[in-house]
């Protein structure tokens, strides 16, 4: 089973190397999708392995797969398949294959896998910094001043933020060394076998969470997110919003477990509550009068990360399970939404909300998925996000976070109003006399199958997800479940 770990790590790098070696080869078009599929397969395989035989450990304990990481690996695979397949442009689109682009995406995937599979927090940090490196040029790949600006802000803000996390890890290591056995292994830290100096541990963990919050897009460290998401190519935005944030959030979840084990729930609860509510507030305030629909989607990501933070702050089996399921649902939906948004941009030629109207009437192939995805993002049934938001709120209330949850509900209403208003103005409305330019051919558009699949999965998630239930339960147990 350890083989799967190595495959999921090594194979993307090999593909990347090959793609860089032959950047113009026709197969590179499909290389990233293929890699994504393999990641998905590895994820499922590891899930089964973990379900049957417990955590899989290799590389002398540096790499370790438990239920949580296996589940998230699967999520990464699934979302990556959606994003890359949806971003696939067939030959007839007339674009030359771009091996460097594919290679970077493969490296990006590899970095995320490493982050998920590493048991050593240091390596986790290295991997997350690695995602910044891999995506830097992807964000800038559209060229032009705006893309450049986005890339610069992304790299500077991201690496500075993550540097803070490194400071935290350093202090944590110092604490362990002071305690007698220096280690950065999450397992050792979270099973409560070591007792650290609380003062130092507090500082260390707080800094680490603050740093990772940057990549997780939690306010007030979120500033890079709207720019990067709105400028990156659609599949990349999808990947970043769909899983990169979640991977960073995964790091926060690990930190939270350690902190709860060492210091009790107070510290993390405070930090996550502040971050979550602040993120919701920022999202609500900036969605209200948003002009640009890709930025709108980016802020909705901030909103969802805020929800996740609230769920993590609440803790407890219900909220945590809801958080994990929410990661999957949000990833799939947001990835497809960014793909659709990219197509809208390519046919409408503008990312301004004001310039796009009556999509349902004029471009049903774009309008219908856009509307459906929005309904999913707004957390309405039958989509799974309905259940997970419900679980987070109820779970939070059960854990005594009544007032924060109440505030969150108010902010959610504002977010809903804003998103609904913008969506209505984009999709609804009468057909114009002139059918606004030549309707783009399906071939240029790319297929709706991945989007339909992703949304369908999100839809059945709430009802038919009981195969997942036990996996989720295990993952919650990994996170220290009831604690």
């Amino acid at each position: 089973m350890a083989a799967l770990i190595w495959i999921s790590l090594a194979l993307p790098m090999l593909v990347a190397a090959a793609a860089l070696w032959r950047p113009r080869a026709e197969w590179t078009r499909y290389s990233q999708t293929g890699t994504a599929v393999i990641e998905l397969v590895c994820g499922v395989g590891l899930v089964l392995a973990v379900r049957s035989g417990g955590p899989v450990v290799t590389a002398g304990g540096l790499l370790r797969v438990d239920a949580l990481s296996a589940y998230l690996l699967t999520v990464v695979g699934a979302v990556a398949v959606t994003a890359t397949w949806g971003g696939l442009r067939p030959r007839s689109a007339g674009r030359p294959p771009n091996g460097r682009y594919s290679a970077l995406i493969c490296l990006f995937l590899a970095a995320m896998c490493l982050a998920l599979l590493a048991d050593n927090l240091g390596i986790l940090w290295v991997a997350i910094e690695g995602t910044t490196i891999a995506t830097a040029f992807l964000v800038g790949s559209r060229g032009g001043r705006r893309a450049l600006e986005a890339a610069w802000k992304y790299v500077v803000l991201g690496s500075v933020g993550v540097a803070i996390a490194f400071l935290g890890l350093v202090l944590l290591y110092a604490a362990t060394e002071a305690a007698g056995h220096p280690t950065l292994s999450w397992l050792a830290l979270s099973d409560g076998s070591i007792t650290l100096d609380p003062g130092l541990a507090r500082t260390a963990l707080a800094l680490a969470v603050l740093g990772f919050a940057t990549k997780a897009g939690l306010a007030p460290m979120h500033s890079w997110l709207p720019d990067a998401h709105s400028q990156a190519p659609a599949p990349v935005s999808g990947l970043m919003s769909g899983v990169l944030l979640s991977v960073a959030f995964y790091a926060i979840l690990r930190m939270r477990t350690i902190s709860d084990a060492l210091l009790g729930p107070g510290l993390m609860r405070g930090l996550l509550l502040a971050g979550g509510l602040l993120s919701l507030a920022v999202a609500a305030a900036l969605i209200l009068r948003q002009r640009d629909y890709k930025r709108m989607l980016a802020y909705s990501s901030i909103e969802h990360m805020g929800l996740l933070a609230l769920g993590a702050a609440a803790g407890g089996p219900l909220a945590l399970a809801a958080v994990l399921l929410h990661i999957l649902g949000h990833g799939l939906t947001k990835a497809s939404m960014f793909v659709v948004a990219g197509r809208v941009l390519s046919v409408e030629g503008s990312s301004k909300i004001a310039d796009v109207h009556s999509l349902l009437a004029r471009r049903p192939r774009l309008g219908v998925p856009f509307l459906a995805g929005m309904v999913a993002l707004l957390g309405l049934p039958p989509f799974g996000l309905f259940f997970t938001e419900l679980g987070i709120i109820v779970g939070g209330w059960q854990r005594g976070l009544g007032w924060p949850m109440g505030v969150a509900l108010v902010l959610l209403l504002v977010v809903f109003a804003g998103l609904a208003q913008h969506t209505a103005s984009m999709t609804l409305g009468e057909e114009l006399e002139a059918p606004a330019g030549p309707a783009p051919a399906k071939s240029v558009q790319g297929s709706n199958v991945p989007i339909a699949l992703a949304l369908a999965i999100t839809a059945v998630l709430g009802f038919a997800a009981w195969p997942l239930a036990h996996l989720l339960a295990d993952a919650v147990a990994v996170l220290g479940g009831a604690r």
Partner: protein
Amino acid sequence: MTAVETGLLAQLALATLAVVAALVAPPGRRSLAAGSATVLLGLAGAVTGFLAMTGGTGAIRVPVALPLLPSLSPLVLAPDRLGGLFMLVAGAVAAVAALFAIGYASGPVASRTGWSAFAVFLLGMQLVPAAGDVVSFLLAWELMAVGSAILVLAEHRKHREVRSAALWYTVMTHLSFLLLLAGFAVLAAASGHTDFASIGRAGIGGGTAGLAFVLLSLGFVTKAGLVPVHVWLPRAHPAAPSHVSAVMSAAMVKMGIYGVLLVVLRLLPGGPGWWGVLLLALGALSALYGILQASVASDLKRLLAYSTTENVGLIITAVAISMLLRRTQVTAVADVALVAALLLVVSHAAFKTVLFLGAGAVQHATGERDLDRLGGLSRTMPTTSAAFGVACLGAAALPVTSGFVAEWVLLQALIHGGGRENRLVAVAMPITVAIVALTAGLALLTFVKAYGIGFLARPRSEGAAHAHEVAWPMRAAMTIGAVAVVVLGLAPGPLAVTLGRVVGAHGIESAGLLGLNLPAVGALLDPIALALLALGLAVPLTVVAVRAARRRPRRVVELPWGGGGIRVSPRMQYTATSYAEPLVRVFDDALQPTRDLEVSHEAESRYLVNRVQFRQSLSDVVEDRVYRPAIALLARVGERARSVQNGSIHRYLGFSFAALTIVLLVVTW
């Protein structure tokens, strides 16, 4: 498997069937296929509801990923008697509306999406009262909301206002959902369970219960369309296709009532007095405000929408009265009030369905919805006119209709509830009586206007002049509804007794010719006997009149007298607007109309008036005074907030730095 379980599964199956039919049937046959499937869906709901209402039991459990975790129970569908009643109402209304839609649906409503959404909407609505736990309740609730929202914006291509209507509707619906979510979360947190039975057993009290009650009742009355959270109603109902607005107004709104009853009877029974006062205030205010707005409205469907607010207000008033009386140990009268509430629910469902369907038929036949452009339809559309007329009698609470019975029971409860024992009740009762009476009076005017202006007199527009009677399914649907209005009004006894059983009320008896006897308040109502007596007097008169008419028939003259043999021009008639003018003046303060008068004089002398222009527009006061400012404020906040992301990387780094310093200081302190 019990009958109820079969019924529930049948509804799921039929809904699926309807969706499939909508998707696969060829456009020509789609309405018939999907329509008949939805009719069956509604009937299934009605039957299941009846079974559950008369004591049938059964439960269906659906496992869900999250609920498999210990702290949430699986989705449970287990209607109790009360739920059964509401399922019955919803199903019956749905069936009639669907039958109507077979003939009515056209354009986007008849599309695949339209019919599928309709089926989903109906399914969700019929499952709300079946839900046995929080999650399934909210799930059904949101299915209902999503389905109805899609239908509300069905016409979005043609009419611009539909978009804003849909927006208002979705946002208000979401507000109600979030309130419910919060309220249920409070209950779940307090009781540790999410199924209603356990929550009810938990016996939550004190501040927690109060908080939950406020949140839940606000959420439910938002859906029920009470003032001040009614604003979506007068927008969504005109925007939606008529069969949809019929279901929304006659059945969906009732789910809000069901929710309130669920809270005060099952989840948090025996709450403190201020609960009743709160509900009473909301209900009475809504009744008065709603009927006032309705009486001055000239858009037929807007008028009906506001009258829904009024009726719901009356229902909530009845519920609140029963709560108050139960606290003051006048339980017998409290039971009567509760039964009155349920009677109001049933009768409103009956006549409001017909009214909205009638409005739809009129719109279908004339293309007009504005009363000021209608008229003379009683000759061109006899069936519609008759059905609409009967329903108007019901809405005006005149004998012998269901509306009269319901209001009679309510008034009986009111005048017998009073007493010196409890100061609160002693003050509340007369005020309530007065408000209910004024409401009834204005309702009378409203529906005399609706029928008299819309169906009598002369056509006021081309469309009205060339109206034609509608297709048979629509006629059939309206007739069924009208018959129901009369039958329920003639034979209230059995119905009231059943309703009494539903809420475990005592002292509700059937007497005389299917009449209704309330020994608790020493009052008896036997509509059939009354009708017989009236006939006994009317028949001889009619005979005399008819014989006279045969001896000397009326001579038809070209011109009406009209104060001097005037020429006939429809424009000389009173319109709905002018009809309500005196009322607008009387209630100037409450309605706050905006008038402007332009007088332009002749050039020669300013004593010679050239032309006088008078404009008057009525808008919803609550909307102008509460919602508009709030929206404007939000918009301003949004504008301000945009400066947070002003693009300067230094500012962004500043955020991070500030966060870093704050966290460092906090954790090391």
